[in-house]
Amino acid sequence: MAAAGSVEADARGDRRGGPVVKATGLRLALQTAVLMLAFSVSGQAQEAMAPAKGGLEAKLEYCKTCHGLSGQGYLGYFPMPRLAGQQPEYIEAQLRAFIERRRTNPIMFNVAHVLSPSMVTALANHFRNLNPPPFGGAPRGAIAAGKKIYEEGLPESNVPACSACHGAEGKGQNEIPRLAGQVYPYMVGQLTGWKQQRGHGTAVDTSAVMAPTAHNLSRSQVEAVAAYVSYLK
């Protein structure tokens, strides 16, 4: 939360060169301005792509190439997570984690390091408002077992209920991600490979909670939880 706030403050500071006042109103005005600019540029984009290249619209297309045309996720050589409906603070926090190598992913490192703070905010707000149906495709056999783990945890294995942080409907909050509708192989990959990919930031980010939790889940328990949340809307 604090870190996400400071990014916004930086963005505002750059533009105004002064202290932060009437933050919400200003932020809204700024976002509206950015959006209007992006749309006016995209109107001319049919003729010449060049002016749109730095714009929000072009960057959104870039994101959606891999993350699904409606942000619903996609299966490339690697599974690409759903961004639709995702918490903006989570998206911002993860983009920072890629840059600071707390989350290991060479592709996303390259993607993230050219994004300005104001672009990150605009992208995150766009994805928050998308609501396509879940990507689907997960095996259905273990959904009931997954629901039980999600709602009650596994006290004998020191696994807390997922719903305690991610919410009963899997919508997440602030830096805690939405899991509802998340792509199944992506979820399985993250939970089984947590330590290698996301275990470097346990001192500073929410990985402190998830690293031991993921470690305490067996493969079949991971698959059950992943299948359950992948069908949540």
Binding site: A58, Y62, P106, H113
Partner: protein, 201 residues
Amino acid sequence: MKRIGLKTAILAILASTVSAISSWAGESAAVRNCTWCHGAGAQGYTVAPRLAGQRPEYIMSQIRSFREHARNNPFSKQYMWNAVAALDPYTARDLASYFASLPPKPANDGDSALASRGRTIYLEGIPEANIVSCYACHGPNAEGVRDIPRLGGLSYSYLKGRLEQWGQGYHSTPGSPMPMVATHLGPEEIEALTSYLSFVR
């Protein structure tokens, strides 16, 4: 007259190569109908891409796209729409798995001076210009996965044509992100990428 003689000779060579690999395919008129254009051992020939080593799900999805006229570039219209019109789904599946099983050879027809630039774009994209990493979907060695095609070793001229055609508004598989990818690629990036890919084994 001379042309007919040449074609017969090619056909004879084809038939003998192919039959050495698979007895089913060797006898199959369906395979010969493909390799007539797609080359001996299905290694590709001018505008007809290599099918050897291609992902079977991709071959099937493209056959479907030709049949439904979704893949609509000029050569597809001229050749492939008719070529698949009478192909039943079982034969299509057998052909796809047969061609997928043939060992692919790289075309090696790109500009080797551009290959290292192409490799960088393939792996990293150009984030500043909204050019995505090809690697994310097509894999570390351009081997493809499921219905995402293998690109490694396909000919420079074929790949270049495909990338240019997406930018020109031709379609392939419904829902494919490729038209969006291609609109951001300039001629220089296309040259580099396709050169690199032509050398990948």
